[in-house]
């Protein structure tokens, strides 16, 4: 079933089940929103291993703090706020260890974990152009493009004003367009 068209009743049942501590409902929540969480995390952090960690931590946090969820709010937006926060934490953590990761990039045997080589992974990754954006701009653009979010919805996820979200989105759209045009011009000239 398409996640975007998930009936509110089913969503409510899953949430209530999780609040009662039902493992079946928890499993249903992971199955229902796992791909959405994974996609947003992958788009923000930019690589699969970190996105998987973000995905795992997001659900752990959701199950622990589901009692704080306000039913008046959109559940997807609440969930994506957690994904965004966990992704930002992951980016900060990575930045702190940037020296190590820069070294590890040349040592794939060290960088890969658990004998699960992702270099042969056929799954898609977000465009490298997106690394030119700040995490906030990237998240704003991702939510706008993939989820059809408006500046107001984005502001709820980013926990900023709608004006600020509008500026992030605008800057992201303009920067990437310029980069694409530049790339296109280089291809035509060269």
């Amino acid at each position: 079933m398409d996640e975007q068209k998930r009936p509110a009743v089913e969503e409510k049942e899953i949430i209530e089940g999780c609040l009662r501590g039902s493992p079946v409902s928890s499993r249903a929540m992971v199955d229902a929103y796992g791909k959405l969480v994974m996609a947003v995390a992958l788009n923000v952090v930019g690589n699969r291993q970190d996105a998987e960690d973000v995905c795992q931590e997001t659900f752990i946090q959701v199950f622990r703090h589901l009692d704080r969820y306000d039913p008046m709010r959109n559940f997807r937006t609440w969930l994506l706020t957690i994904v965004y926060r966990r992704s930002i934490d992951m980016i900060k953590k990575k930045r702190r260890f940037s020296e190590f990761t820069a070294r590890a990039r040349f040592e794939p045997a060290v960088a890969e974990r658990g004998g699960n080589p992702h270099f042969a992974d056929p799954e898609p990754l977000p465009s490298a152009l997106l690394t030119k954006l700040s995490p906030r701009e990237r998240t704003a653009l991702c939510l706008w493009a993939n989820e059809g979010y408006t500046a107001r919805d984005i502001s709820e996820v980013l926990e900023c004003s709608a004006s600020t979200a509008r500026v992030y989105l605008f800057n992201a759209r303009r920067k990437i367009k310029a980069l694409l045009e530049n790339e296109h011009g280089l291809l035509q000239n060269g």
Partner: protein
């Protein structure tokens, strides 16, 4: 065209978010020329991974239950309660020490015959000799004017 350039110029030189948001809302979102310089939703969509194209992490449910078991809510709650108890105890002890010290200081100052000048560090300072390396050293004592600070500078005698 000239107006678009002017708006662009203002947007670039004044990095004030509310102003930028106003310019976007009032002009850039409705101007076809400005819109042409922005990425469309379809173009942006091609850059990102969508939820229907992404695979779920391997054994995500297993990883979640494993991590959740490691820190069950019961142990978390009890450790949180324990932590909160310790924090309260530390805070209460600190407050008590501060209160007793403050009370004692106030009592000392209010006591009859208390002369603040007498308790100055400089007035109570006394030095008979300074030894460096087992031999009397060349010693300089310096007190900046109007302060209670005393500097002692000792140099080993040649």
């Amino acid at each position: 065209m000239a107006f678009c350039k002017m708006v662009d110029f203002i947007y670039a030189v004044l990095p004030i978010r509310p102003l930028r948001a106003f310019l976007i809302r009032s002009h850039m979102e409705s101007c076809p020329r400005c819109q042409a310089r922005l990425l469309s939703r379809a173009e942006a969509g091609r850059l990102f991974v969508t939820s229907d194209r992404v695979g779920m992490p391997a054994d995500l449910w297993g990883r979640i239950t494993c991590q959740a078991e490691r820190a069950t809510p019961a142990t978390e709650a009890s450790s949180n309660q324990g932590g909160a108890g310790w924090r309260w105890a530390t805070a209460t002890a600190t407050a008590a020490v501060v209160a007793v010290t403050g009370f004692w200081l106030l009592r000392e100052i209010d006591r009859q015959g208390f002369d603040p000048g007498l308790v100055g560090a400089a007035d109570r300072f006394q030095i008979d000799y300074v030894n460096v390396g087992g031999a009397p050293a060349q010693t300089f004592v310096y007190q900046p004017q109007g302060t209670d600070t005393v500097f002692v500078w000792a140099i080993k005698n040649p």
